[in-house]
């Protein structure tokens, strides 16, 4: 808090001597002539007035936050609590929910399709995320050095992550990987005839994974920011000691950007677990199944199908909470392990 912003600093004006324009009458009794002494006093505002001022500012702050607070209470927290309740009920959207205790959760473990959806999602997350981050880091390393057209390349690589999760890109992906489409035809040229990837139970998921990997732009930008923070002296010193490129990358770059890597990993994992739109669009609207032989039945899709198509809202709510627990667990494990591999600069000093 600087003195110039506090009314408590009796008669203090901004250095240029103007009266605060918005409130001509708010500082009665002050005259331009008193400025120097007042400034000295103003440096130590009266405690009681300061507290009142602080409270008012806090209040104003909260007032500014009101729309978001209401949003969180009404649109996030409220529904979450309701969904927690529904997870323990049998609820079909139309009749009132009936309490059934842990039955939904017990049923989940006996539901083959639920296990399928868990498997599909884990494959997607465990293959897609590392590939995506590797691509992001690789391209960030290429783009970190100043070169011609750098701005263009950065934007070009970033663009997919802005649009990649949209329905239209899903449609494009579907068109590219479909039977007799671009990918199928060009691969046939090399004698590798898979047919349409989308309709092939073994190739549908890889198609979805390529879509997420292609959206490496967002983590790339974060990596770029991290790479720019790495002090150049370190590289110079290492080079003098005869460290090669790989050595420099392993011993300087990786440890130095490990907080950024951690952040990206966390964000991407949480994000990947909730994949929905692209899977549904790639499988094609109007299908009754989660892609060919349920090969694209990601967790979010199965949840949606149970809730909104089969009208088993209680079951879907239980699924949602299991997902939440799963993501929570993964996050907790990551935070536990970070001490071993994430190096914050403060620790080093």
């Amino acid at each position: 808090m600087t003195p110039t912003t506090t009314r408590a600093a009796d008669g203090v004006r901004p250095p240029d001597g103007t009266t605060p324009g918005a409130t001509p009458g708010a500082t009665p009794g002050t005259t331009p002539g008193t400025t120097p002494g007042a400034a000295a006093r103003g440096a130590r505002p009266a405690p009681a007035a300061g507290r009142r001022q602080g409270r008012r500012e806090t209040l104003a702050g909260y007032l500014f936050l009101t729309p978001w607070c209401i949003g969180i209470l009404l649109l996030t927290l409220g529904p979450m609590l309701v969904s927690l309740y529904l997870a323990f009920t049998d609820y079909n959207l139309f009749d009132s929910p009936r309490w059934i205790g842990f039955k939904n959760f017990r049923d989940l473990f006996e539901d083959d399709r639920w296990w399928t959806s868990v498997q599909v999602t884990l494959k997607y997350v465990l293959i897609g995320t590392p590939l995506k981050l590797a691509a992001a880091l690789a391209v960030a390393l290429l783009l970190v050095k100043p070169r011609k057209g750098q701005g263009f390349y950065r934007s070009a690589f970033y663009a997919p992550s802005l649009i990649g999760a949209s329905v239209s890109i899903g449609v494009v992906w579907r068109a590219i990987f479909n039977d007799n489409a671009v990918v199928d035809k060009s691969m046939s040229l090399f004698g590798w005839d898979v047919g349409g990837w989308i309709g092939d139970p073994d190739w549908a998921l890889p198609t979805l994974i390529t879509l997420t990997v292609w959206q490496f732009g967002a983590p790339m930008v974060i990596f770029l920011a991290g790479l720019k923070q790495v002090p150049g002296e370190l590289y110079e010193a290492a080079e003098m000691d005869g460290a090669g490129r790989w050595r420099r990358f392993r011993s300087i770059t990786l440890p130095m950007i490990s907080p950024v890597l951690f952040f990206n990993l966390l964000l991407e994992l949480i994000h990947s677990f909730q994949v929905f739109t692209s899977a549904v669009v790639i499988a094609g609207s109007g299908t009754n199944t989660g892609g060919p032989g349920d090969s694209l039945l990601v967790y979010g899709w199965y949840l949606y199908e149970q809730g909104f198509r089969n009208l088993r809202m209680g079951y879907a709510a239980a699924m949602a909470w299991m997902l939440m627990l799963g993501i929570g667990l993964v996050t907790a494990v990551l935070f536990r392990t970070q001490r071993g591999w994430v190096h914050y600069e403060e620790d080093a000093q």
Partner: protein, 426 residues
């Protein structure tokens, strides 16, 4: 620092104003009123289908609005599966469309939940005529004495085949042929040297299995809302198709998945397929190959056990305008102009007025001839309990996994029974 130019008081006022404005936005966003104030009544109408259907329906809606200047119709449509997801959400929020496309399979599901308007009252009040329906179709939407839907079009199950391929293989499709004949024909076509498979693997089509069961004195669903067959029955049915699929006579699971959204026959993979007769319209748009409609194979040489199923219009039980909804349904089912515009898009028109108004040509003429040829064989429809749609989807999906080699027959049959029983039980 710009904040220094404001006092907290002024800031407070501004903040308060911002909050009020934000809340106001929220409030107006939530309370979209429907009162139009000029004496006009607005009803919402939604249906499922592709773009071609939407274009035709828009024309009929315009016609209706012209005849009923005091009623405005707001329309929207989506694909089949999306339609029902959307409908469920809207209905759960008490905001279902006033009038919407429905089918027999859903009458009990939503009737049990009191979401459908009983149209008997409106018929008694003279807002909706139940006269002039073909083949007793006015009863099609009658569930336990309540009229929950009025059919706009009816269709029946059919055997689709490629006449050239069949002729080349020396097979003739004739009334009263049996399942043995059918599988033998598929084999002949396949071994005949062409590139086509003898038939699409339709073991996963609930409606086809229903016909087979009916021919054997059973049905897919019983009157008391249960499955009408045993695990052994299903193992036999699926097993029989699998046996022919493994002999390379039927389209392999993977190929038919890759052909989607086309059916195997319209993707020129197979020489025959079973589905609803009005699909001929769609297939004609998807393939240049000429296709014909033939009789469903029988078990005893006589009975196909076919029935008419229909697309219907239903009203929402919560509509504010039941009278206008009834007038709308009346117009859409009886008006000859509407019949001319829609053609056989939703099946053969349900009323004689619309049936006579439209002169079928091309593929429509084939469908008309087919329905005429089976009209004497038609029987009452199998009851569809609540959850029938979920059971149908499971039937389709689980056999497909068998065809893809992802699961064993025994496991698949068990899984179907467990999913279907839980869907029908709730």
């Amino acid at each position: 620092m710009g904040a220094g130019r404001w006092t907290a008081k002024a800031r407070g006022v501004r903040v308060a104003a911002a909050v009020v404005a934000a809340l106001g936005l929220l409030a107006t966003g939530c309370g979209g009123g429907s009162g139009s104030g000029d004496g006009k009544v607005t009803i919402r109408y939604s249906w499922w289908g592709a773009k071609d259907r939407a274009e035709l329906i828009q024309k009929t809606v315009k016609l209706f609005e012209k005849e009923h200047p005091n009623i405005k119709v707001k329309t929207d449509f989506s694909e089949y599966t999306d339609f029902w997801s959307k409908f469920n959400t809207q209905a759960a929020g008490g905001n279902a469309p006033d009038v919407f496309q429905n089918s027999y399979a859903f009458l009990r599901k939503y009737g049990d939940k009191n979401l459908l308007l009983d149209l008997n009252g409106q018929a008694d009040a003279g807002n909706l005529s139940l006269k002039g329906f073909r083949d007793g179709l006015e009863k099609a939407g009658d569930i336990d004495g309540k009229l929950l839907g009025v059919p706009v079009g009816a269709n029946t199950f059919a055997f689709f085949y490629n006449p050239d391929a069949y002729r080349k293989a020396g097979v003739t499709v004739k009334d009263g042929w049996t399942w043995d004949d059918f599988f033998a024909a598929a084999k002949k076509v396949r071994k005949g040297g062409g590139t086509l498979y003898g038939a699409s693997d339709n073991a996963n089509v609930m409606y086809l299995y229903d016909l087979y069961l009916r021919q054997n004195g059973k049905a897919f669903f019983t009157k008391d809302n249960k499955l009408g067959f045993t695990k052994d029955d299903l193992t036999e049915w699926w097993g029989r198709w699998q046996q022919h699929a493994k002999a390379d006579e039927l389209v392999p699971g993977k190929k038919s998945e890759q052909a989607k959204p086309k059916a195997s026959i319209s993707a020129d993979l197979s020489a025959s397929e079973f589905t609803w007769d009005n699909f001929l319209v769609r297939f004609a748009a998807e393939t240049k190959t000429t296709l014909d409609l033939g009789p469903i194979p029988t078990t005893d040489g006589k009975r196909t056990a076919q029935y008419l199923s229909s697309l219907m219009l239903s009203g929402s039980a919560r509509t504010q305008h039941p009278k206008e909804v009834a007038q709308f349904i009346d117009f859409m089912t009886h008006d000859p102009e509407v019949g001319k515009i829609m053609g056989y898009n939703r099946g053969i028109p349900a009323t004689t007025a619309q049936y006579d108004a439209y002169r079928p040509q091309g593929v429509d003429a084939k469908i008309a001839a087919y329905e005429k040829s089976v009209s004497t064989k038609l029987e009452p429809i199998t009851p569809h309990p609540a959850g029938a749609d979920v059971a149908e989807a499971a039937f389709l999906r689980i056999y497909t996994q068998v065809a893809l080699g992802q699961t064993s027959m025994g496991k698949a049959v068990d899984q179907f029974f467990s999913e279907a029983e839980s869907a029908l039980g709730s």
